[in-house]
């Protein structure tokens, strides 16, 4: 093995990589928020009795979950300009990641709402509460508790998935690493440092999620990491 490691390159360029990390978090945050909005609509559609609405939502979810994220991003990146929509790479990444996150979050939100036992709603109605009150004080609090951790987990998955957006030139962490590599050719060191940045990031985010869970739920819950991932 005749190779000397030069870790000084990525270490010196940490500020450069950190800028990419911030962009990563920004893109992921926007994508997750939009994805959540999409998911609320999607979940409602997936619980609807209207066959057309139900089928469209189901098709959306199944396509997202059964095709690779990279292909979805390429689809948008190469396709949108031909429709006259010339977004910059970061925006395209946000759109693509939103649509992808929305697909997974739809099922998460739906599961959270459907998990509320029928009797809960009947008990609330029997006390004389209106439908709106039942929603606000019984359905919503319970749904939020059930989806809190899965949504947090999905956000972290989005942060990891955002690395794929480097392939469409979004200015996030992995892309910055690739630029660094093309300048200095210290490929192994640069990408190793980068992957550890992601590792540290996800560990920190999981710790934060556990903290939020403990504070909001006021109880000690054992959070188990859930499969499957999103891609």
């Amino acid at each position: 093995m005749g190779y000397t490691f030069y870790f000084d390159v990525p270490i010196r360029s940490l500020p450069f990589l950190l800028k990419g990390t911030i962009t990563t978090l920004q893109i992921s945050a926007v994508a997750s928020s939009c994805g959540l909005l999409i998911a609320i609509g999607g979940a409602t559609a997936r619980m609807s009795k209207n066959k057309i609405v139900y089928s469209l939502a189901t098709a959306y979810v199944e396509v997202i979950r059964n095709t690779p994220l990279l292909v979805q991003l390429y689809f948008l990146y190469f396709g949108l300009p031909s429709l006259g929509l010339n977004f910059d790479a970061n925006t395209t990444a946000m759109v693509g990641l939103s649509i992808s996150a929305g697909g997974y979050l739809t099922e998460i939100v739906r599961a959270g709402i459907e998990a509320i036992h029928k009797t809960q709603i009947e008990a609330a109605l029997s006390l004389g509460m209106s439908n709106v009150q039942v929603f606000l004080f019984v359905k919503l609090p319970q749904a939020i508790r059930k989806v809190l951790f899965p949504i947090g987990n999905q956000f972290i998955m989005t942060v990891l998935a955002s690395a794929i957006a480097a392939m469409i030139s979004a200015e996030e962490l992995t892309h910055k690493a690739m630029i660094l590599e093309s300048r200095t050719f210290r490929s192994l060191e640069i990408f190793t440092v980068t992957i550890f940045i992601y590792f540290a990031l996800s560990q920190a985010l999981y710790a934060l999620l556990r903290l939020i869970g403990r504070l909001y739920l006021k109880r000690k819950y054992e959070f188990v990491k859930t499969l499957p991932p999103s891609l």
Binding site: Y3, N66, L69, S82, A163, T192, Y198, L227
Partner: protein, 222 residues
């Protein structure tokens, strides 16, 4: 100026289908290797006699589940060249993906092993069985059945993950798609076909997994 744009022909479709075969091969190899790696990872993760072994396995699983797959493949690719091995990109790609698969399958195995009631361990131990005997005779046979539904779900993720080795320049379905799009400028057509092919690979697995889960639950209720 000559326009190097040509139209999408049947030749391109055949190219995509051939690339699909490469994707399937890649999927198969990564899965095969991943099962082996995952098996060891799962066993090590639950090895009762050594904290060090458990922590090593735990770190491996944690690491490959908390980092982007694309970077795993890239780091693996550059890392391998350190050892002076002249491996084809396909082998490197499959090996890289098998580390990812091994981590997830190992976690599935761990969950399966830990779900077996403690008392079965105690009963087997009081019969005088050793750890390997207990694993082989009592625990693993039960665990296999438990692990199948989540593993099927994971297969879909692995199939989608094969698209990421395109960053290495390895020609599988996604890379092929990109090459054709750059030549024909028909993004919706080409990517539409590529997505459809992936869908046709993944969706049956998804459905199969769901059916298995339902059959599984029905058996449990008795």
């Amino acid at each position: 100026m000559v326009e190097w744009v040509s139209s999408f022909t049947a030749k391109d479709l055949i190219f995509l289908l051939k690339a699909m075969m490469i994707t399937l091969q890649l999927f198969g190899s990564a899965l095969g290797l991943g099962l082996i790696v995952g098996f060891f990872a799962g066993i090590m993760r639950t090895y009762p006699r050594s904290v060090v072994v458990r922590k090593l396995a735990s770190f491996y699983i944690e690491f490959f589940r908390s980092t982007p797959i694309m970077l795993q493949v890239i780091v693996f690719y550059f890392g391998i060249s350190l050892f002076g091995l002249e491996l084809s990109r396909g082998v490197v790609a499959a090996a890289g993906l098998s580390l990812y698969a091994g981590a997830y399958l190992g976690e599935i195995l761990r969950a399966g092993i830990e779900s077996v009631d403690r008392r079965q361990w105690q009963a087997a131990a009081s019969l005088g069985m050793s750890y390997p005997q207990i694993m082989r005779g009592v625990i693993l046979p039960q665990v296999v059945k438990i692990c199948i539904p989540p593993s099927i779900n994971f297969l879909v993720s692995l199939a989608k993950a094969t698209s990421l080795v395109s960053v290495l320049g390895y020609i599988e379905l996604t890379r092929a798609g990109r090459l054709i799009v750059e030549r024909t400028y028909q993004p919706f057509l080409v990517w539409g076909i590529v997505m459809a092919i992936y869908f046709l690979i993944c969706y049956p697995i998804t459905i199969g997994g769901r059916r298995l889960e339902m059959r599984f639950q029905r058996k449990e209720v008795r």
